[in-house]
Symmetry: C2
């Protein structure tokens, strides 16, 4: 029951399996929306807001920002905080998550350099609903809610970009929900790795990446992965070991390399069928 829509470039579907060198996120082209596991939305949602702005806009925005350095594990804000800033990641990585009443962490998003976050509480001026923690040494620009609203008012173009990013995020989260509801753990992990490979491979790692290999350049513990896909830590460990034994992935430094992207992709297509 594969609804594949392909108006033009019929063969882009075939191309997918040949695509080995990573022009990032491009392997999920525009023309097949169902095989697309949300790759587009994913990339769009992780769009580099900062660098998408015009020179002048960037200056305007950063002029009213404060810079903040965070050490790994530092909290930027917690649920219940009154802080009303909007943040842009300068470099590093911020983990956004929610705690369930039972204390379980559900990771909602990783914000990478250039990404903007914290907009949700912007208008209502309500409390923070979620937690933001530096996943590694991270620098963020803080912009007061008030300034940011003014900025958007002054720069309609930027406001449209913000809308674009937010809607992409809505879409990406829709795909995540579908994954949570439909896929088994192995498939969810595969999806996750492919997505992160797409958005994080900008800064490729030092280790020479073998041909066709994708680098998931984010340092995540098994617990993080578990919290990201709604599984237990043990299951993640086991499943990852499986994939490793089958030669689909390997561990480099402290992150994962996808040795056989096609192997993972094949999991998505048939899904939990």
């Amino acid at each position: 029951m594969l609804h594949c829509v392909k108006n033009k470039e019929e063969d882009s579907l075939v191309a997918i399996s040949k695509f080995t060198v990573p022009p990032v996120a491009d392997f999920l082209a525009d023309d097949f929306s169902c095989v697309d596991d949300g790759g587009n939305a994913w990339s769009d949602a992780h769009a580099n807001f900062l660098s998408s702005l015009l020179q002048e806009e960037t200056e305007d925005l950063l002029r009213c920002s404060r810079s903040l350095m965070l050490k790994p594990r530092d909290h930027l804000f917690r649920a219940g905080d009154r802080s009303s800033d909007v943040y842009i990641v300068a470099n590093g990585c911020i983990r956004l998550f929610q705690l369930s009443p039972s204390g379980k962490e559900t990771i909602l998003w990783f914000s990478f350099p250039g990404e903007i976050f914290g907009m949700a509480e912007l208008l209502k001026g309500s409390h923070r609903q979620i937690y933001a923690v530096a996943n590694e040494a991270t620098q963020v620009y803080c912009i007061s809610c008030k300034d940011f609203i003014k900025f958007l008012g002054d720069h309609p173009e930027a406001a449209m970009k913000a809308i674009g990013i937010l809607s992409a995020r809505v879409r990406a989260m829709g795909y995540m929900m579908m994954g949570l509801a439909c896929d088994n753990v192995e498939t969810r992990i595969a999806r996750l790795l492919i997505r992160f490979a797409a958005v994080s491979s900008g800064n490729s790692c030092t280790e020479a990446t073998a041909a066709g290999e994708l680098c998931v350049n984010v340092r995540m513990t098994h617990q993080d992965i578990a919290n990201l896909i709604g599984a237990s830590r043990q299951t993640v460990t086991t499943t990852l070991a499986h994939l490793r034994k089958r030669g689909a992935v390997r561990i480099v430094d402290h992150h994962i390399h996808i040795v056989q992207p096609d192997h993972l992709r094949s999991l998505l297509e048939v899904a939990a069928a």
Copy 2:
């Protein structure tokens, strides 16, 4: 391991269990963000975009809209469609969902009167990623993407509102993901009912609602509920029967009434602990 952040009004936590009369969605006040199951975000995300506009804005917007009548089960668009409109529900209800490769439907959102949807594909002009189906006889206003962008440019206030709605939706979906990842089926159903009671009780049903009773004024089949919370139809049937036997809910006409809101809420607090 209950991380409850409560700056002031320590006892508002206690108050929650006493609250029976329904000033809807207000029972989730501003001051306890952990007990708040996203009720605020939920309501904000279902905000009536149309009626939040000024008289003049509304006229501007509707002037460039076409009205469309849909019968129950009519498709407004499908994944893969090229349509590039933004929609506002005049009356009725639109079901937005995604199909997994194996054909399973995951409902992402119900759009109620006044709500705007279809913004995700707005800027990229890409294909629809999801399906939109009328859940009942429904009237929608269609606005071409181009006109809508122009409208937002001309009315920065409205653009800010759109940003607000989108970020609330991101937040609401974050809560949904947490639910999917952490709660058991009974809790997920409880959460769902409470949320829908909050947003749908505007148009209360004919049947005299007993004191303290909440009306979930949306006609959903068990299959719909299953698709909404990522469970099987049978489990939903069984669980709902449980809740009915315990007197927590009852069926009126073709929708659910929450007889004992507190009973359902108690499920959320301890969650799947």
